[in-house]
Symmetry: C2
């Protein structure tokens, strides 16, 4: 049978796919890419790559950079992704602090701002703090609000389908806050909201300890204990955004584990409550018997909740983050000892390599993913940015 | 910029995609499909649909059927998927029975065979029973072994990456059986092996109660209690095939729940152990106080294990299957009452509409999925079938 002609629609679709392939090849490289490399990475002829690179440059997605210094012969033309063509905001709205980080579309953080808050801070004041850190970031970076294509926020609490907080245990006046609506009124672009621990898990998947794992559990060990899942490489929200809410199970001691550690006999008078649990881990490291016993109990409490998630999804890896993960040298071996006997197949256990801004970093990755699927793949820009 | 020519490779790929689209449109329809309908469903011109239908017919994937009786004017040409062009085998290898079902590529079961076994049956005898049911099916249907493109088996126990049983609680001489190797020596085509409960979950997802749900939990309530997960529409195996193994958790009573029900005071002397639990559910339905109390306890035991999975993945739906699900009228309301207080968000709870052959049905779906991705999408046939 004869080959028939492809239709115009087919060709336009192929061309858009190829343009996106070139864009992705540019985005994937930290260094400028020559046309020859670009053609090879995008699986195109050099002529097609040149064509599409010129088009992407004209559209503001790419920029040609001067030839590499010291090139011999005819210098190779080189291009890079124009990461500064747009920005995203990542927010971390927790019980004890509010943090904003502004990044370009390459994920490079160009400004951060934070405000301390408390679990008992009123809803209005916490939202005001959110507005303040957003404004601070934009001002510091000299970026206008319409240049922010997507804002992603991680908040303490269970987050419903419309970006509202349906249940908050850690912040007292936070249940019912329509967070996506609040941010939507202030942000020019799209707004995404999810649980903070879930965005920490995303950060581990994309930048941290879970980069290689298809299925992993992230455990936040801090003043509260929480968890989130990566399944099939993706953050798992569940049907109603309540996946990973192990703390509610009466048969696991997560709801009280950190508090019990902080109130154990190994904490001297004068150590503030917020620092008590970390103090106990330090004392355990130094060999204090009461602290060692309290840490053993804490590891056992963590393991009981963790074992239910491990039995359910059989992850390759468990990543431990949060304030207490700074003492992973003390905590991880004990957690491993307690977890093993509870598992059919014991997962790897690793400390997070990311710092305390991982929720905001996860929010930035999420926002960039949104930009990629919404705008980059369609060769479009948001309405805001005109 | 001008539109450039698509390459020959692009066009060949497009053509193969379009042929697969036509094949899928034929497969999706229980009735023969006219060329006009085919074009519309595959998103092609009528000429292209005619072209590709002729090609698929020549290749043996499709067959033209006579015009619909009573057509007026020029009769519309109609085609159907040639489901009989290949076969798949689905096996259910349990503690108490071994079942094989042979189906054509449309999933139509053309033969089944079964053998009773016992938990204490030796490994050799159980494997022999497997060989016997396979032979019976082929003989009954008059199908030759090389016509079976793919064999999929669900077995009791945890299944490792190479189709070996790494751990079996329900069948005593079954841990360590290299089941995929055994089947591979006897079956001409590809061999797939997974845990039986997982294939029951797949059957619910594709044919049963979970068709509409992205995330669901299937609970097998029988002589043993087990569970499997559907996440993002897909069966979730976990990293080492141990997902859903809730029964091992010491904090859940699944390992002993069915046994406790079967041994409760409501069972008269003379009722065999295998029928005791079902008997108790019947007595509870009739209002027997001891039976009601035992069923309440059983529902509470099920709910405790189920709650850990619900808290972990937040499913939309829980499907209850297995022998005791025949008494769903007695069991489900009690399970719902016990589960609710343990959940942040309580999933729907439904009884399986599928019969006791659901594992084999799930195995058939899995085998057909394998045929689809391995052979149909590439327009190829297995080596066996020549």
């Amino acid at each position: 049978m004869q080959e028939r002609q492809a239709t115009g629609g087919d060709l336009a679709m192929l061309r858009r796919q190829n343009a996106f392939g070139v864009l992705q090849a540019l985005r994937a490289s930290a260094e400028p890419v020559t046309l020859t490399e670009l053609a090879s990475r995008a699986g195109l002829s050099r002529a097609s790559a040149e064509d599409l690179a010129a088009e992407l440059t004209e559209q503001g997605w790419a920029v040609e950079v001067p030839p590499a210094p010291g090139s011999v012969g005819r210098p190779a033309r080189r291009y890079r992704f124009r990461a500064e063509c747009g920005y995203v905001l990542g927010l971390d709205i927790g019980a004890y602090r509010v943090l904003a980080a502004l990044a370009d579309l390459g994920g490079n953080v160009v400004a951060t701002a934070r405000r301390p808050v408390l679990p008992e801070t009123t809803r209005d004041r916490r939202l005001e703090a959110v507005d303040e850190v957003v404004t601070d970031c934009l001002t510091d970076a000299g970026v206008e609000a319409p240049q922010v294509w997507t804002t992603a926020a991680g908040t303490t609490g269970v987050v419903g389908a419309h970006g509202e907080v349906t249940l908050s245990g850690a912040a007292t006046d936070w249940t019912g806050v329509p967070l996506a609506d609040h941010l939507g009124d202030r942000c020019a672009g799209a707004v995404l909201v999810d649980n903070d621990t879930r965005l920490a898990a995303l950060a581990e998947r994309r930048l941290g300890a879970a980069r290689e794992a298809q299925h992993s559990v992230y455990v936040h060990a801090g003043l509260h204990t929480s968890a989130a899942l990566i399944i099939g490489g993706q953050v798992h929200r569940g049907h109603g955004g309540a996946a990973g809410e192990i703390g509610v199970l009466p048969i696991t001691p997560w709801a009280t584990a950190a508090d019990r550690l902080a109130r154990c006999g190994a904490v001297p008078a004068g150590v503030p409550y917020r620092e008590a649990a970390a103090h106990v881990l330090g004392a355990a490291r130094a060999g204090d018997a009461a602290a060692l016993s309290a840490v053993d109990r804490y590891a056992s409490d963590l393991a009981l909740g963790l074992a239910t998630m491990v039995a359910t999804i059989d992850p390759e890896l468990v990543v431990l983050g949060g304030g207490l993960a700074h003492s992973a040298d003390v905590l991880l071996p004990r957690l491993r000892d307690r977890l093993g006997p509870l598992c059919v197949r014991t997962p790897d256990l690793r400390a997070s390599p990311l710092g305390d801004d991982r929720v905001a970093l996860g929010a930035i990755r999420w926002a960039i993913d949104h930009v990629e699927t919404t705008y980059l793949a369609r060769n479009e820009r948001p309405d805001t940015d005109r």
